[in-house]
């Protein structure tokens, strides 16, 4: 897949073609320019410099644009900063576009996903812009670089502060453009979420992805129409999110998966369930049944609250099997992938909030690895990570990091 396009929404105030000089030494190579005759000189010069120009509503072929949120910790109305501190006893709400990027890519194989998320405040920090870049790119998409008015004006006026923020932003974009090989890595997952992700199933299935993401449970998106025998490979559980019963073929394959030791989490409309009720398997919202070597967890009422379903799924499967476990991560998001030959793995981490005090993050990664290196947006080269080896996992002790970091592991 060609992920090499890095798009930017051209500020309408940048009418002088010399403004294109700001793009020198950056990876920005596609501009979304409004229809405005005053911008024609910009378009002409961009063409001369080999920069693709498209209209905002007409992306290039092979690109799907999704509407996104400005990524980060959602602040209350009283919030005055574009960042927030994570506390010990509360999990702040995170806006992230990662799940949407992944879903769009799963529904549109081969497409490049661009995220349209305009800055939501009159002035944003360099950190916040870098997070916007990383939030989309870590999940295989690209944020359409969009500047707040003050930053756009500051870059035009070449103020050092604005140029510093611009450098940080474009540096983050360059970082991801330079790691195209990571886009070929495949998701490591504990749970597969099966749905058609459309129509009356859209709300539940989309919200489940959104909320499972927040738990840092690693998941695989399984689109019903693209289901194949290999869709369930390596999974511990599947969550059947749809209201309607699966077709007989799908049903059979999922039950085979359960029989072989997997787990199915489903609503009551899934249809008849084989298996025998587990003795002592009391759960306030599920009937638990044994089937072959595996288990069925059948919701007693229909799935109603996706938050409850997402959290229940973590416990039904058990935290024992989670692939990533964080300490002191604060409001952290993650995406765990592996190279096709499985010799390398990649844990991309998004720290959406400041972390209190000197409590440094730790991430436990399930699996056996020999080495780990840490990539961050502010360092050109990776650092060797302090690693504690457990029986079937490694604990990575991270230095203080802000925004984004990626741990690259080798078996």
């Amino acid at each position: 897949m060609d992920r090499e396009r890095t798009p930017m929404r051209w500020p309408v105030e940048w009418r002088d073609p010399s403004a294109l000089d700001a793009l020198k030494d950056t990876v920005i190579n596609c501009l979304l320019v409004e229809r405005d005759a005053a911008l024609d000189p910009v378009i002409a010069r961009a063409g001369q410099e080999g920069i693709r120009v498209v209209r905002p509503g007409a992306p290039p072929a092979g690109v799907t644009v999704i509407e996104g949120e400005w990524p980060g910790v959602k602040l209350s109305e009283s919030g005055t900063f574009d960042h927030a501190a994570a506390g010990p006893t509360g999990v702040p709400w995170i806006d992230s576009n990662g799940w949407k990027v992944r879903l769009t890519a799963a529904l549109n194989p081969g497409t490049q996903v661009w995220v349209n998320a305009a800055p939501r405040k009159p002035r944003l920090s360099a950190e916040s812009y870098a997070t916007a870049v990383a939030d989309a790119a870590a999940h295989g998409g690209r944020w359409i670089i969009s500047l707040d008015d003050q930053l756009a004006a500051g870059i035009s006026a070449r103020t050092p502060e604005a140029l510093g923020r611009w450098k940080r932003l474009t540096g983050a974009a360059g970082y991801f453009a330079g790691r195209n090989e990571w886009s070929h890595y495949v998701p490591e997952a504990v749970i597969g979420i099966i749905s058609d992700f459309a129509g009356r199933n859209e709300f539940m299935s989309h919200e489940l992805l959104n909320l499972v993401t927040r738990t840092n449970q690693q998941y695989r998106i399984i689109v019903k129409s693209a289901f194949s025998q290999s869709s369930l490979n390596g999974l511990r559980a599947v969550l059947y999110a749809d209201e309607d019963a699966p077709d007989p073929g799908l049903r059979k394959q999922i039950l085979e998966f359960v029989k072989a030791g997997g787990m199915l989490i489903a609503g009551p409309k899934w249809g008849g369930f084989p298996g025998t009720r587990e003795p002592g398997g009391d759960h306030p919202r599920y009937v638990l049944m044994a089937y072959g070597k595996g288990r069925l967890a059948v919701a007693t009422p229909d799935f109603e609250d996706p938050y409850v379903v997402a959290n229940d799924s973590m416990v039904l499967i058990s935290h024992r099997y989670e692939l990533l476990r964080f300490w002191n991560g604060g409001a952290v998001g993650s995406y765990f992938t592996a190279a096709p030959d499985r010799k390398r793995a990649l844990v991309q981490m998004l720290f959406y909030a400041f972390i209190l005090g000197d409590n440094r993050p730790t991430v436990r990664v399930a699996g056996r690895y020999r080495t780990a290196r840490l990539w961050t947006l502010d360092q050109p080269a990776p650092r060797v990570l302090d690693m504690e080896i457990e029986e079937d996992a490694v604990e990575l002790h991270l230095p203080p990091v802000r925004g984004y970091a990626a741990a690259e592991l080798e078996v």
């Binding site: 010990p88 006893t89 509360g90 024992r320 964080f326 002191n328 209190l356 409590n359």
Partner: protein
């Protein structure tokens, strides 16, 4: 004897001071040096329990409930350190205590905690802390966990009455496990506390309150189905528990956490008496109760304190930490709060006067460490 509403309706004595320092009971306290959670732990605890008259005397043939301290979310560490080495009761101490109780003939052992804002099984909580719950479950026969932050496996909440009438509430609605046990054990960590000055065997019991009733997400009329949020309204008194639970006795009393938290702790300890208090300070932190307190520092005092009276036990712990157990509000570690020990002593739970407490095993001076020297920390 545990007093429930059915047993002692109307027995409340409306906040009167039943006891005084002079008549508050005393009990022996065992102190031991234990520098690690390794091989020395089990024999050390075994000797300590023998020094207290033997575990069999307390637990044989009984259902034992053990409240452990797993404060804060399991996703927070002090630096890179395991939670059991800092602010959680160590899993090794839990397993060793359970093992010895099983050996002493306990019929059933329930490990209790009200983990932060969740009704998930405690085992799942432990896994998030990177603990292996099976290590604890297999350390004796008939061991189980129960999350007491909600109704749990019970059919109804148990109303436990505060025999002296209560400082803040006359009675508390709790998970059934605190009533359905013959023996109640507080297995705590030796720490300072930003609100209550210290958190030892008594303060550990603050966590027996279910957040479905005493949490910020509790219902207005009835307990919420699931726990949400912390127990901030016990701290600040900004709201009342659901109408289904006993109301505060004195709604005009100070709405300050330094006033309320120590009193609620004493209410709870009176309502659900502690039969055995074990406070481990093999490894801990100084300066506060968890990583969310700025400036907490890891420490390895290498000490365990145990007793059959929580006030005498906590008094010895305070001395081990370098504090004066006779300290009152205004003096470390109670600069901004009332002394839980003083309040407990006042209602006759136990004495904090070291001159009246028999200490066996290691002397205080041999194991004293400088928690007090680190100074008080403040919440961020």
């Amino acid at each position: 004897m545990l007093k429930t509403t059915s047993a002692v309706a109307g027995a409340c004595l409306a906040g009167s001071r039943l006891g005084t320092a002079a008549v508050a009971p005393t009990a022996r306290v065992a102190v031991a040096r234990c520098s690690s959670y390794g091989a020395e732990l089990l024999p050390t605890l075994s000797v300590m329990f023998d020094q207290l008259g033997g575990l069999g005397r307390i637990v044989k043939g009984k259902t034992v409930a053990i409240k452990v301290n797993l404060t804060g979310m399991p996703s927070y560490r002090v630096g890179y350190l395991p939670l059991g080495d800092t602010h959680y009761t160590s899993p090794q101490v839990i397993a060793a205590t359970v093992h010895l109780m099983g050996k002493a003939g306990a019929r059933r052992i329930r490990l209790l905690e009200s983990p932060w804002s969740t009704a998930d099984p405690v085992e799942e909580y432990l896994l998030q802390a990177d603990w292996e719950p099976r290590d604890i479950l297999s350390s004796a026969p008939n061991v189980e966990f129960e999350n007491t932050n909600w109704l749990g496996s019970g059919k109804r909440y148990s109303r436990l009455v505060v025999p002296f009438g209560g400082y803040i509430f006359p009675a508390y609605d709790l998970n059934h496990s605190y009533e359905d046990c013959d023996v109640f054990v507080s297995l705590a960590k030796m720490k300072e506390h930003a609100t209550a000055g210290i958190t030892l065997s008594m303060k550990n019991c603050f966590g027996i309150t279910p957040a479905t009733i005493y949490g910020s997400g509790a219902g207005k009329d009835e307990p919420s189905d699931l726990p949400k949020g912390g127990r901030i309204f016990i701290h600040t008194g900004y709201r009342q528990p659901p109408k289904s639970a006993p109301s505060e006795k004195y709604p005009a009393s100070p709405r300050q956490d330094g006033y309320r938290v120590p009193r609620v702790v004493v209410d709870l300890v009176a309502a659900r008496p502690i039969d055995l208090a074990v406070v481990e300070g093999v490894k801990t932190i100084t300066g506060g109760e968890g990583p969310w307190i700025r400036g907490v520092a890891p420490a390895s005092p290498g000490v365990i304190v145990a007793g059959t009276n929580p006030v005498t036990t906590d008094a010895v712990c305070m001395a081990v930490m370098g504090f004066d157990p006779m300290a009152d509000r205004g003096k470390a570690p109670f600069e901004t709060c009332d002394s839980t020990l003083r309040l407990a002593e006042d209602v006759g739970i136990g004495t904090r006067d070291l001159s009246r407490i028999e200490i066996v095993g290691t002397s205080i001076s041999e194991v004293m460490f400088g928690a007090a020297a680190h100074g008080r920390r403040k919440r961020p």
